[in-house]
Symmetry: C3
Subunit: 219 residues, 3 copies
């Protein structure tokens, strides 16, 4: 199992931190959309666990880990309650939340890619599933809130590219037999760093060429 990249306790702690901050972003969107306590908890769960659930379904790892590991399931509920009671404070430290979210992004693209490889998928598919693990929950969050997924919007800082880079590094490390706690951490930190730079400098991905020649933009 290459997916056991870190000592068990460390991995579990990192996973729960990532899940917690992903859940915060789901809960905050629910508050903005005027949802009730239950909507907050559902969006927190869906955001935090959705990417991993989709990865596990695709690779056939059932029952999916999000439902067999109690901590994975309870953590988003805690985050939901935190948002319910303290959302103005959580909004105020949004910069810190975004930093933790970037950490979660880095961590999940690495562990998602490694797990997909463990289940026998090829490099390209493993990279895709690493990205799905990291970014899928946010897409589910936005769909449930009937928002255009921010992952797909040109006016948001790039989110997928850092995940892609982190996942690709892991796939390369696996193929050259060099995946270890140290190199996996480096890959996760690379994705994290790219995301932080994107946030700081407002990096965006290009839209389709020649837009001026085409119909008017709808958004």
């Amino acid at each position: 199992m290459t997916s056991q990249l870190f000592p068990p306790g460390v991995q579990q702690t990192l996973d729960l931190v990532g899940i917690f901050v992903f859940a915060l972003s789901g809960g905050l969107l629910a508050v903005r959309k005027n949802m009730d306590i239950f909507g907050i908890c559902v969006l927190a769960e869906a955001t935090a666990l959705g990417g991993g659930v989709m990865r596990d379904l695709v690779i056939g790892a059932t029952p999916v880990v999000a439902f067999t590991n109690l901590g994975y399931f309870v953590t988003p509920l805690v985050a939901g309650l935190v948002v319910f009671f303290l959302h103005p404070e959580v909004e105020r430290i949004n910069r810190s939340v975004q930093t933790l979210d970037a950490l979660g992004l880095g961590l999940f693209c690495v562990t998602g890619t490694a797990k997909a490889h463990d289940y026998g998928l090829g490099s390209v598919a493993a990279v895709a599933l690493g990205m799905l693990t990291a970014a899928g929950g946010g897409v589910i969050r936005d769909v449930l809130a009937t928002e255009t997924p921010s992952l797909l919007r040109w006016d948001r800082e790039i989110y997928a590219v850092p995940a892609l880079v982190g996942a690709a590094l892991v796939a390369i490390l696996i193929s050259i037999g060099r995946l270890s706690t140290a190199t996996a951490s480096a890959a996760a930190l690379t994705a994290f760093g790219l995301r932080m730079l994107a946030l700081k400098y407002g990096w965006r991905a290009p839209r389709a060429w020649h837009r001026n020649g085409s119909r008017t933009s709808e958004e």
Copy 2:
């Protein structure tokens, strides 16, 4: 198999009644959204079977039962045709439809929790899957119709809490070894009763605290 809670014929009948009324709610939304006969049938199918399909995918019970039991699949089509030809009449008996929907809610949260337990999931996860079975189809219905899921909206009577109570009762009954036809029926009726009370008295779940201090509501 604890999920065989009722005599087979009774269970099948109850399942089909629940599926039928869930499908009616999907078909009625499709009519309101001005969809055609095919959209009506698709929304009827998705509403009626979506929760159970998601549960089966998560626990790895494939092929999912909604596609292996012919009655489960055909019943929503019948409901779709009923809505197609008779939707004003169905709207008129909406109060009765809501009562039957509450019965479906009670039944599915109980059977969903029991089935998840049969597949080896722990109590908390089984409760979550019971709720998913009961409420998941309605979320898919609303997403397909590009509506904010009514499950998540604060201005709708609570739907998840009755399901939570019913599912939690089943988990407790399982853990103390007392799940039987009688106790399962009591759990389902408790969920049903709570939902009916919520409808009658307009019970709603609270939104996040201190909303006045935060940004203006968007809806």
Copy 3:
């Protein structure tokens, strides 16, 4: 395996053509919604592979083939890049794209039905999964773009009925033991032809009866 309907090289080529044109339709919608290059590629992937992924999940064919066959995964990326650089040209040949899309529809409803049958599903369920394979990706595309799925809209030419006819023909052919490359091709061409006729003559499905008697249309 009845799903090996065509010589392997032929089947692979047909699959990739279908995937490519489905991906084009996803990419074009992303451009219209003003998404960036990454949004274009994600919508291309989701449209092209979504139907087959859902089919594989439902029947328990994991890891799903879309992630184990490299060509299936890379083709939508190529289509996404084509749209990114050349979308005005692709829009201009939209009529040809719709023709190819109809070919994909015919092909996927046939192969989807046959694959579901291979996994032990009954005729009705296999037909439903054939339709899901052919039309599911387009629904995911529209949900991700927060549009009402065009499959469900009454003001679009019928898409599901041709898929239904093609899938039903395959189920009948299987049940009478006559499914072969020739008959499967005939079923696919029937679905293709119906879709082309629907486009040419603007065939639409009926909406619910007595609409005048009900509330005003919302769209």
